[in-house]
């Protein structure tokens, strides 16, 4: 994976740039000292590291606007950053670019229960929103496992999901409004407390745009009232196929659970060893199905899910009977990543989505690949929506193992696309999957996407080197290659 070649001219102007930025953001907000830059050198995809030119931490939209305008005028690249938990290298710095950190945008600006929304700054953590409204019985629905740390600005950029998104939607389904600053410094407000867009859905376009279109400086999110109760069923199966059939059976019966997560044998073993959640170890696959709502509803649905599980050959079924027990069922799943981290020096987390019916085929092929590459793999799976997280175990200190893990990962993602799925379900393309975009998209597809980039950032200064394998100049992309001629479709029905 190669990043665009850094511009030595810009690097040489580092001091001058820092001075200019200090005029916009006074005090501690401009970081140039190497030790202080170090914490910003990578995000959650720690295999890649680059020291940024400068880190700037503005506190107001006006400062963000001035910083961007300055960078625009001086052709300096900018990488926005929230908490730096991206798993795809979206916030990976550029040696000739500044990191624009939104860490100081930490205020919850307004909680508006009557309109069922909250207005927050982008540096507020995902869980911070729910914490602010929990006592009043409300919550913000999308719940990435990283929710203690990751910011709502980062969630917007990545269109993050969580275990509850099957029923409650992804970030994009739970956002009402944004304030963004474009690369030229212009501030644009999109949406608000109302629904839908008057014209093109810029809100939907910006969500999931990986920090390439604009810097988010304010977010209005939907708040939901928390369900009265939730209970979980823990079901063990003798095979991955049986577990997959059970998932199909639940949805086929018209039930959309609050969460429906699957783990394979290696993931179960690692999680159980780590948190002692009480998972059965004699099963090939484990399913956690959570039902939420009024007690009568939850009881009614639990009965039905139990019935479906039995019909699909479940060999162990446990239903949570207390909040504590429900939390224990989840503890293993939620700690799956660190649990893997304990049994292997390093792990590489993948994020493809597949049509769920293809799960057995994909897992079988993955086992073959695991043998070919000589690397172990464990799987956790957002089973309801087909989003698969294979965790590849490797040791970065062994020469060549990282490269092998990456190759293995790329093979898995290609497999996902091959069976009708996609490269990424929630972690984003970033730098990680950038060079695989061609397996899913044609050149025309990618060119059309880049034309969208050109709408917002024609000089490609905002987070360049991410998402697109090849950067074309906007002027070139804008050209129309069509010549005037005679009607070229003689066989077309005409009336």
């Amino acid at each position: 994976m190669e990043m665009p070649k850094p511009d030595d001219g810009v690097i040489a102007r580092r001091r001058e740039i820092a001075t200019a930025l200090r005029e916009i953001v006074p005090g501690e907000g401009v970081i140039v000292d190497e030790d202080a830059l170090r914490p910003y050198e990578s995000d959650g995809l720690t295999a890649y590291k680059t020291l940024p030119l400068i880190v700037v931490l503005p506190e107001t939209t006006e400062q963000v606007s001035q910083v961007l305008r300055y960078c625009h005028e001086n052709a300096i690249k900018v990488v926005p950053r929230g908490a730096g938990t991206s798993l795809s290298g979206g916030a990976l710095p550029l040696a000739d670019g500044i990191i624009l950190g939104l860490g100081k945008f930490k205020k919850i600006l307004e909680i508006d229960y009557d309109n069922r929304c909250a207005v927050v700054q982008p540096g507020v953590t995902n869980l911070g929103i729910t914490d602010a409204v929990r006592d009043d019985g409300f919550y913000y629905a999308p719940d990435p496992s990283s929710q203690i740390a990751c910011t709502i600005g980062g969630n917007i950029a990545e269109n993050s999901g969580g275990v509850h998104c099957l029923k409650y939607g992804l970030t994009t389904n739970n956002v009402l409004g944004l304030e963004i600053v474009m690369m030229d410094g212009e501030v644009v407000r999109i949406g608000g407390k109302h629904l839908d867009s008057e014209g093109y859905d810029m809100l939907g376009l910006l969500t999931g745009s990986e920090g390439l279109l604009g810097v988010v400086t304010e977010v209005t999110v939907r708040l939901l009232r928390a369900p009265e109760t939730a209970r979980a069923v823990l079901v063990g199966f003798p095979s991955n196929e049986a577990a997959g059939e059970c998932v199909a059976g639940v949805i086929g019966a018209g039930i959309i659970p609050g969460g429906m997560e699957m783990m394979d044998k290696p993931a179960i073993a690692a999680a159980e060893a780590f948190v002692e959640a009480g998972y059965p170890l004699d099963v090939e696959a484990l399913l956690i199905v959570e039902l939420d709502g009024p007690e009568v509803e939850v009881d009614y649905l639990i009965d039905r899910v139990e019935g479906i599980a039995k019909a699909n050959g479940a060999i162990s079924i446990r239903v949570s009977n207390s909040e504590e027990e429900r939390a224990r069922f989840w503890a293993g799943r939620k700690a799956a990543f660190p649990a893997i981290g304990r049994i292997s020096p390093d792990y590489y987390c993948m994020d493809g989505t597949i049509p769920r019916s293809q799960l057995p085929k994909v897992l079988t092929r993955m086992t073959e690949l695991s043998n070919e590459f000589g690397l172990r793999v464990a799987n956790v799976f957002h089973a309801g929506d087909g989003n698969l997280h294979p965790l590849i175990l490797y040791d970065a200190n062994e020469p060549g193992e990282l490269e092998k893990a990456e190759e293995f990962g790329a093979e898995i993602l290609k497999l996902c696309v091959e069976v009708g799925g996609v490269l990424t379900g929630e972690h984003g393309v970033g730098v990680e999957k950038r060079d695989l975009m061609g397996t899913m998209f044609t050149e025309d597809d990618l060119n059309q996407q880049q034309r969208v980039k050109c709408v917002f950032d024609p000089d490609s200064l905002l987070n360049p080197g991410k998402v697109f394998p090849e950067l074309h100049r906007c002027a070139e992309l804008g050209r129309v290659h069509i010549k005037r001629g005679e009607m070229r479709f003689p066989d077309l029905p005409r009336f």
Binding site: N159, C165, V188, K193, R225, A226, D385, I482, G485, R494
Partner: protein
């Protein structure tokens, strides 16, 4: 000379659009033509009829996905979904009768291109939230796609979002994939009688703040209630606030009973069962109160912050001599204005400018739709982005040009 072009293959579409781009001659895109009288009137010499792209190519109920030609009649989609007890959760409205056309027309592509949504918008989202993937030909005559056939996908920009609600101005869609969901086992509606608009929305708000997953919340004045086909509503002699509850049987009964208790202070309550509920919400969804034969009033759709809805609508109706009802818990106002002058354009725009949100002219004679903006005018920054986005997809401005905004 005006021609109707009806491509049957991807290559046809590509050829037609490339030709139109070369000639710089605009095309009017249509599915079944059911929404032709919505938007700014155009003067395209040629019509690009996409109805040949019809038929369901993939439907996997247990994976919650359906792919079909964009020109597939929506009625056919409903029929297929019904067989599996599934639905389009965003409840696409049928504006046929409102626009003086038959019921049940329209195509899947049209529903998506107009980003329609019914009363369940507040819980399940709009067409945009269920639109997973498409193939289309851009105004450059190039075939492109976005999204996929899985419900969870963040690979590349989410171009489904901009295609939804683009009214055919960005590309000619051929294949589309949508998320489908199970239909609820049971359906009931709690009615609260006799509140004025502000009190009615207060009742809806209280219901929406409970954990009971209200799937629709509307308020209709007595004048509107009196025309309902549902006896309980028509004969109530009062305004009606209505709250829909859906889900498994025992849960629906429990939630309705609790809500009736909680909302009793607002007025007398009643409960509609399945059949009546379905009929009532269809009327709300399809704007039937303003769709009676002979009703020629201008109809506006306003999307505003829910709490502003009732006050804004009451004041606005007084100024323009209009009649209104409220959906989306106060966030959606349907306003009918006597057909004279500008159809209340100035007052509507001023009210929305103050509350935030947007207003769209849904039914009006072509002259009025040319004379006043149909879609909410945008701030200069956003307007420039819209313009540039259009250029990115359709640099020669040949696909439904001007349907949304001049020059877009």
């Amino acid at each position: 000379m005006s021609t109707l072009l009806k491509p049957e293959t991807v290559d046809h579409v590509r050829d037609v659009v490339a030709w139109a781009a070369a000639e710089e001659t605009p095309l009017e895109l249509v599915g079944s033509g059911s929404k032709r009288s919505m938007g700014r009137p155009g003067n395209a010499a040629h019509t690009l009829d996409m109805s040949a792209f019809s038929g369901i190519s993939l439907y996997e109920a247990e994976e919650l996905v359906l792919s079909a030609g964009a020109g597939t009649p929506i009625a056919g989609i409903y029929a297929a979904l019904q067989e599996q007890q599934q639905e389009l959760a965003f409840e696409p409205p049928d504006y046929g009768p409102l626009l003086g056309l038959p019921e049940g027309a329209g195509t899947l592509g049209g529903v998506l291109a107009a980003n329609l949504a019914g009363p369940r918008r507040i819980k399940a989202g709009a067409a945009r939230d269920h639109f997973l993937g498409f193939t289309a030909v851009s105004g450059r005559g190039e075939l492109f796609k976005s999204g996929g056939r899985v419900v969870k996908n963040v690979t590349g920009y989410d171009l489904c979002k901009v295609m939804a609600g683009s009214w055919g101005t960005l590309g000619a869609m051929m294949q589309v994939t949508v998320k489908v969901l199970p239909a609820a086992e049971k359906l009931r509606t709690v009615l609260v009688f006799g509140c004025d608009a502000v009190q009615g929305v207060a009742a809806l708000t209280q219901a929406l703040q409970t954990p009971y997953e209200v799937s629709a919340a509307a308020w209709v004045p007595q004048t509107v209630a009196a025309h309902s086909n549902v006896g309980y509503v028509r004969e109530s002699g009062a305004s009606v606030a209505a709250i829909r509850i859906e889900g498994p049987g025992p849960s629906v009964e429990y939630r309705c009973a609790t809500l009736r208790d909680q909302l009793a202070p607002f007025g007398a309550t009643e409960e509609l069962h399945g059949h009546n509920s379905a009929a009532f919400w269809r009327e709300i969804r399809d704007v039937r109160p303003f769709a009676e034969p002979g009703d020629t009033r201008v109809v506006w759709k306003l999307s505003v912050p829910p709490q502003s809805g009732a006050k804004l609508a009451t004041a606005l109706a007084a100024v323009v001599d209009g009649e209104f009802y409220v959906d989306w818990g106060g966030g959606l106002i349907w306003l009918a204005v006597p057909e004279a002058g500008t159809g209340g354009n100035e007052a509507v725009r001023a009210a929305v400018a103050e509350s935030g949100g947007h207003a769209t002219l849904i039914r009006a004679p072509a002259e009025l739709r040319s004379a006043v903006p149909v879609f909410q005018p945008q701030d200069p920054g956003l307007a420039r982005l819209s313009q540039r986005l259009k250029e990115g997809f359709d640099p020669r401005g040949i696909l439904n040009p001007g349907r949304m905004y001049p020059g877009v």
